[in-house]
Symmetry: C2
Subunit: 310 residues, 2 copies
């Protein structure tokens, strides 16, 4: 059945240490560790770009899939709002790097923090349309290209990373029904103007706090599944403050709701698949709820269910 077979992840080793910026931004250890919840942000090399991060994630995928055949890939998609160039699409560059065949479809999706959930729905439905067997969904949105070093709202928060999700017939997880939402009236709250990122942190927090609990309720009902039957809640890792709030507000079990980004930061559309990779080998995890929210403003949620092996 078409679904997620495996995930490759690349989080750059190079880190920026937020404790080094305590004086510059007049912030405390407590703020860094407990409110922001990010002590270090991952940084790509200066000579790297989004396609290079995708390639590194692909190498990670290949490590655990020695029988992988690039010539069998029918479609690749890159979800990014920081492409190598405005044109062509980054997936064309990745297509070259991976030496994929001419009959491989390639397109980019422009979405932010909701991008992984959307991307999964888009690539899976696209593959079903053409009866495609093998696809790769990349996420790579290195905000180091656009953060303002003097803006503590963003420079302390965002990290660089990329992931690739291998969609095939030999799936471990299959998708249920998705929810999608948009509030374009708030599009200016997280925006890149003149190649600099601007974030109204309070508005983004309020948006997430007001929208995500209802959306999680909606996706559970849509899939006819009880909240108790969810083994992991993989929420987009906006900041520790928003994850802590959502856990409390919705009444989620803390051990089922990872907070994972302390050592690398908010990696936008990569935050959910980085955590999802950890779930693949753990057979005790049957049902996973994924929920992304941010830039747009945009949100999307879905349920992933482990296939029962015969």
């Amino acid at each position: 059945m078409l679904g997620i077979q495996d995930i490759g992840v690349h989080i750059p080793k190079l880190r920026s240490n937020n404790f080094d910026n305590k004086d510059k931004f007049s912030i405390s250890d407590d703020f860094i560790e407990n409110k922001l919840g990010v002590t270090h942000t991952s940084q790509m090399e200066v000579n790297q770009d989004s396609s290079d991060l995708c390639y590194e994630a692909y190498k990670d995928l290949r490590l655990s899939n020695s029988d992988f055949s690039p010539e069998n890939i029918d479609v690749i998609t890159v979800c990014t709002q920081n492409p190598d160039y405005s044109l062509p699409h980054t997936s064309a560059i990745v297509h070259k790097m991976l030496k994929l065949p001419d009959d491989c479809a390639a397109f980019d999706i422009s979405l932010g923090c909701s991008g992984y959930v959307y991307g999964l729905a888009i690539i899976e439905s696209f593959m079903k349309l053409s009866n495609f067997k093998n696809g790769l969904l990349f996420t790579a949105d290195p905000y180091s290209k656009i953060v303002d070093d003097n803006d503590k709202n963003t420079v302390l928060l965002f990290g660089d990373a990329a992931t690739v999700t291998y969609i095939s017939q030999n799936s471990i997880f299959t998708s249920g029904k998705f929810t999608f939402g948009t509030r374009g009236s708030g599009f200016e709250h997280l925006i890149c103007r003149d190649q600099k990122l601007h974030m109204n942190g309070r508005e983004i927090f309020n948006f997430a706090a007001r929208t995500v609990p209802g959306d999680i309720q909606k996706v559970l009902e849509l899939n006819n599944i009880e909240i108790e039957d969810i083994d992991r809640f993989l929420l987009h890792q906006g900041s520790k403050f928003i994850i802590d709030f959502l856990i409390k507000r919705i009444g989620l079990e803390k051990e089922k709701t990872p907070y994972a980004i302390k050592n690398y930061g908010n990696t936008v559309s990569s935050s959910i698949p980085i955590m999802l990779k950890e779930c693949i080998g753990d057979n005790s995890i049957k049902n996973i709820l994924i929920s992304g929210f941010g830039v747009g403003l945009s949100w999307a949620s879905g349920i992933l269910t482990r296939n029962i092996n015969i």
Copy 2:
């Protein structure tokens, strides 16, 4: 049945006259009229951006659909490589302009001249996944934002425009099977570096000349339809030279293969839907072949068939 109900088009009235540039570029009337085949290029206003062009196309759609209800739109997609901002996605801004509801999905697709064919496949498959009834597929890629005024390869060729395709259950045309292709090894032949467009015209021509005939053959076979049964060949309008070449090379009937861009130029992903709008009201047109090719390098083709009214 889910498919194309109607199309709205916006081609800005403002034009740049290529004859005014004859001396600057040492070119002849014959070159302008017969080889390039573009006498004027459409130009958006200086205070406009891609979302504004989308909104104008939407107003055109509304003119002929007085009973249209924005609150029933389930999803919108904007295909562009010249978004208003790198983030958020332009579809979020259009979502605001159209006062669409919170539960409307919105995402951008980054593709160039193959974007309309891809976009149709992506939005239709996405809608089928969630059983969505009404969607809007926008194309808007105003190259006036990136063309170099001193580059005769591009400034004389590209025009600004936008379209919106209304996908609904009350469709006039439904899609058959699609073909998709990518040659990432040629990604540098049409590229935007440092906000300036660069095109290797010879390479792009050679790519199209070598790839499109085979792809048209492939999509005909895939849909089990004879070339004689196609009433219109809507080929991406790269230039008069490439359209003339493809007509001759494939042996297409000239009256079935429009060349439409003399007065406004190559409008990238909008070139096919601009011509398709003209076909909607003409009941003598049953089967249409659409084929897009360019930036990436990327190509895609499909067959549209008029629904038989009972």
